[in-house]
Symmetry: C2
Subunit: 291 residues, 2 copies
């Protein structure tokens, strides 16, 4: 029975443990706070917990660092030191270049432990073990980054691991990954937050109240991810600055095109453009099997 170490038992680590509950693996959890470890055991997100990360790392066949980006970077040397040869260390960080580059400098033994970066496209606007649920990873895409010291066998094993909880894996270059998710995720969080601020924030209290009343389900969904963790999104954007700015500019070009059509009174053009956006989104839903 393989030992799967989950370091970090928040929404992502906790949900991963829950997704693995029916598998024939031993789930060993680690979290800095005792309260989190106790809660993770209580909801059956892990089979055992340890307060000492070293102990967990020594026992693990696969380690998943389900932690904030700065903590992942901080713990890489300890993982390289404590894990046994052959162990695969991976993470769930939303950026890959900085993490994998650091790991390439730290994981140098050709016999392992091996580092391979993962980024499961899964999450909600909530945080913490109490927000965890077993379906979070259901059918999620997981991007896996080329690692220098990891042999094909380790890559295949990690792909199998994610596929065992119904994820779809795709191997991708780290820099390309970071540009891609800046487009498909990171910039979206900035847009959603800017919408929440521009719509709900108003100096005049009666105008503010009117806006609170005037927002409905369209606003609810469009701004959902604005309720995400500010610290987490700060860290992600901080580690992917040029790509996020480029993605925002691409979006602004698209918005400017709409504004120009509205200004010109070209509503046939507006309808055509809107139809194109609808067609693209509808075909995306179909591609993801959501329609």
């Amino acid at each position: 029975m393989k030992n799967i170490a989950i370091a970090g038992l928040g929404l992502l680590g906790g949900s991963l443990g829950l997704a693995l509950a029916e598998k024939k693996v031993n789930r060993i959890g680690w979290a800095r706070r005792e309260e989190t470890r106790t809660a993770a055991l209580a909801v059956n997100a892990v089979d055992e917990v340890h307060p000492e990360l070293e102990v967990v790392l020594k026992k693990a066949d696969i380690v998943i660092l389900a932690l904030p980006i700065p903590v992942i970077l901080e713990l890489l040397p300890l993982c390289a030191k404590c894990c046994r040869p052959g162990t695969i260390v991976t993470d769930i960080g939303s950026i890959k270049l900085e993490i994998v580059s650091a790991a390439d400098r730290i994981f140098t033994n050709p016999d392992g432990p091996y580092f391979i970066g993962s980024h499961p496209m899964a999450g909600t606007e909530k945080s913490g073990i109490n927000a965890a649920f077993p379906q979070l990873y259901k059918n999620a895409d997981v991007f896996i980054t080329y690692a220098k010291n990891a042999p094909d066998k380790a890559m295949a094993e990690l792909e199998n691991f994610w596929q065992s909880i119904s994820c779809h894996t795709a191997i991708i270059d780290a820099a390309k990954h970071d540009r891609l998710v800046a487009e498909t995720s990171h910039a979206l969080h900035v847009v959603a937050s800017a919408l929440s601020l521009s719509i709900l924030d108003h100096a005049d209290e009666s105008e503010k109240l009117a806006r609170f009343r005037g927002c409905a389900t369209g606003f609810k969904d469009t701004s959902r991810i604005a309720s995400s963790s500010p610290q987490m999104w700060r860290e992600i954007v901080e580690h992917n600055t040029p790509a996020v700015l480029a993605a925002l500019e691409e979006f602004e070009k698209s918005l400017e095109q709409f504004k120009e059509l509205i200004r010109q009174g070209d509503f046939d053009g507006f309808e055509e453009n809107f139809s194109k956006g609808k067609l693209l989104r509808d075909s995306w839903l179909e591609y993801k099997g959501m329609k």
Copy 2:
């Protein structure tokens, strides 16, 4: 038993009929297409249908025009001509100034029929009678506009009507309404469509495929309303151009502030701004009883 005429049996008209199913009213439906009338009867969205709008209007105590904006404007004279004194005619259009101004010129008899504009903040990205469901109006806010020839009694009756299906009513000036919903709804649809286009549209097929793969639930929700009817949103934006442009500019200012913080590397400022957006959205959820 009051006769409630529902003219237009799409998502909004059909759902209104379904919401009224358990009430002691007679629901008379009208739609241009026979297929729609038959479908509305089949799903019990109405008690009876007629192909002739005149017949429906003559019988009605309350008329709801659940139709596109240009059709609402087109049918106002017929409503004024065919409806009996005392009948209340309302609509569900997303803009109010142009509709109520037109109605003020057309509904001039002090004994009625009376026109009062309504705008229920309810909808989904789908269209048509088959997308209708009885909970669409549940707890929805309905903006009601001052009308020239409508006495207080008629205003109160219309408020009661919406409240009977659990809506919260608020009386608002038409011009103020149009500016408000440009902020809370109309501009959002343009933003969502621009996101769909900027993220999913790419000349390079392999890059396009990567983006399709890289989008997840964050994109799904943020862009949901981009799958709305292009014709309907063209008509709404066309009838509320200056307010939509102003709302988009307000949003862009908010986005620019984020971009400037990112460019400057001021991530404490970024986190603070994001926190403010989260706090506002979370308090909005609470205000709406959604949390």
